[in-house]
Amino acid sequence: MANLNINIGKLQLKNPVMTASGTFGYGTEFSDFMDLSRIGGTTIRERQGNPYPRMAETPSGMLNAVGLQNKGVDYFINKIYPSIKDIDTNIIVNVSGSTVEDYVETAEKLNSLEKIPAIELNISCPNVKEGGMAFGTSCPSAAQVVREVRRVYKNEMIVKLSPNVTDISEIARAVEGEGADSVSLINTLLGMAINAEKRKPVLSTITGGLSGPAVKPIALRMVWQVSNAVKIPVIGLGGIMNATDAIEFMLAGATAIQIGTANFIDPTVSVKVVDGINEYLDKHGFKHVSELIGALEI
């Protein structure tokens, strides 16, 4: 059995498999199905509560318009944190905001939570007006958020990038330059669904975020581009459904991966991915999972 330990900067993972923000609740929703301590980490939202409705199934994917309206970081710290802090895996909090101050304030508060080793700055959510995506689609604004948060946040800072851009490497380099410890990509692609019979958009917000296997080829390409452009670790995600997909992301250059939409179809998928990576490593004679990172032969 190969060694699956992976470090992302200061963050030590028992294996490279994490779950993606917005798709794994607080983890507890999945505890009937799997042992949470078997995965490398889970990314949860600091803000949760009363989001907007609606999703639409699409070919090999889904659109969501969940948005980020919710009870805020204080609610998270007081009500949620106590009940999840002893889950034996890395808990990464996904942070969003509509102003730079939002991000900074939230990051500062989370900095003091002992059992939260990392935050993931979501500058890429397509579902909120001024709610992040605008920050992630231009270098100066992405750089600014990261710079300000870096001043107050001392633990591992992951920056989650938007795929809705012309040149994602450029944005990645910009946030690296401001002190991001690692980047994760991709967030959802901006999409739309229409009900032809009713002649109306399916989503209340008209457009929403596309995820699932449909986007995997795009995610894989971006992970490959970004990992060739920056020196910090890259966390890959977008449409991962099984261990083979996860391995493809690592070969493209990802140090770790996250699983989102697939959790809905198989709530135990993340542990299956851990097992599958293990089998692959054994079969191909690798001793350590890190041997896969960027091991694509061109």
């Binding site: 798709t23 989001p51 609606r54 999703m55 809905f264 179809i265 198989d266």
Partner: protein, 274 residues
């Protein structure tokens, strides 16, 4: 009104219930009409405890265009024969494929999901279970439960015409069955809320599931007659277990997930314009 007790009861039940991912085996697939199929599933293991009103998330294997699981109500559970019944109405590709499953195939199912209906505290309370179309599905299991608990059960089933009145003899095992059809081909002609049984007597508890306009009409009748009324809502669901937050509905407590806080809601919790 026994609302708070009901809430405590329900919450207790749901949150203590373990969920399972099961590969169930198709034992029978009965075509009930050109639109509806009754699928009877079984397992070599004993089926877990399931409450009336709960639903399952069914993985649809073998459909090129279906990606997510599909939420389907528990129509009935027969613990003696270890059978789980699903009633499927063909809407799109997912339900079409489900309606075509062959005996011996397995279906991957997550259950039990969601909450349950509230039981009246008094055994002599008058109950009416009103279902329309495929919404009759959860009421069979609910009626069976109520009967076992010692209540007298009334069903009022509505459909477009006789062919769409499903499983009539099954409902008759557990209570009185009243029927309306829009074309008058069976029972009284008209909509469920026009049935004479609703005019003749007052009910203390009304449980309903079906198309939203029907449920709203029933809710409005319940409000007028001071009955406790619970409705079972549908919603687009990606996960069914509270992880995605895609299935929210607006309530007096704000936006809540239908898959975990529902599908059953007391109408006093909903922000319906009725």
């Amino acid at each position: 009104m026994y609302l708070s007790l009901y809430l405590i009861d329900t919450q207790y039940n749901i949150y203590s219930m373990k969920k399972f991912i099961l590969d169930l085996i198709v034992k029978k697939n009965v075509l009930l009409s050109n639109q509806y199929s009754l699928i009877i599933l079984t397992s070599s293991e004993k089926l877990p405890e399931i409450l009336p009103g709960q639903f399952a998330e069914v993985r649809v294997d073998g459909s090129n265009t279906t990606f997510l699981r599909r939420p389907i109500s528990i129509h009935y559970v027969d613990y003696e024969t270890n059978e789980l019944w699903l009633l499927i109405q063909v809407i799109g590709d997912g339900t079409k494929r489900m309606a075509e499953v062959k005996v011996g195939e397995t279906m991957n199912i997550i259950l039990p999901l969601g909450n349950t209906f509230a039981s009246p505290t008094r055994k002599d309370a008058k109950l009416m279970l009103i279902g329309g179309g495929c919404g009759v599905a959860p009421l069979l299991f609910l009626g069976a439960y109520f009967k076992r608990e010692g209540y007298e059960v009334n069903f009022l089933l509505g459909a477009r015409s006789e062919a769409d009145i499903l499983q009539k003899s099954e409902y008759e095992r557990f209570g009185n069955v009243y029927i309306t059809t829009e074309d008058g081909s069976l029972g009284e002609k008209g909509f469920v809320t026009q049935h004479s049984v609703l005019k003749g007597s007052n009910f203390d508890y009304i449980y309903t599931c079906g198309p939203t306009p029907m449920m709203k009409a029933v809710a409005s009748y319940a409000l007028k007659t001071n009955a406790v009324c619970e409705v079972s809502l549908e919603n687009t669901m990606a996960c069914g277990i509270g992880a995605c937050l895609c299935c929210v509905t607006d309530t007096v407590d704000g936006h809540v997930c239908v898959c975990t806080e529902g599908p059953v809601f007391n109408i006093t919790k909903l922000k319906w314009q009725i």
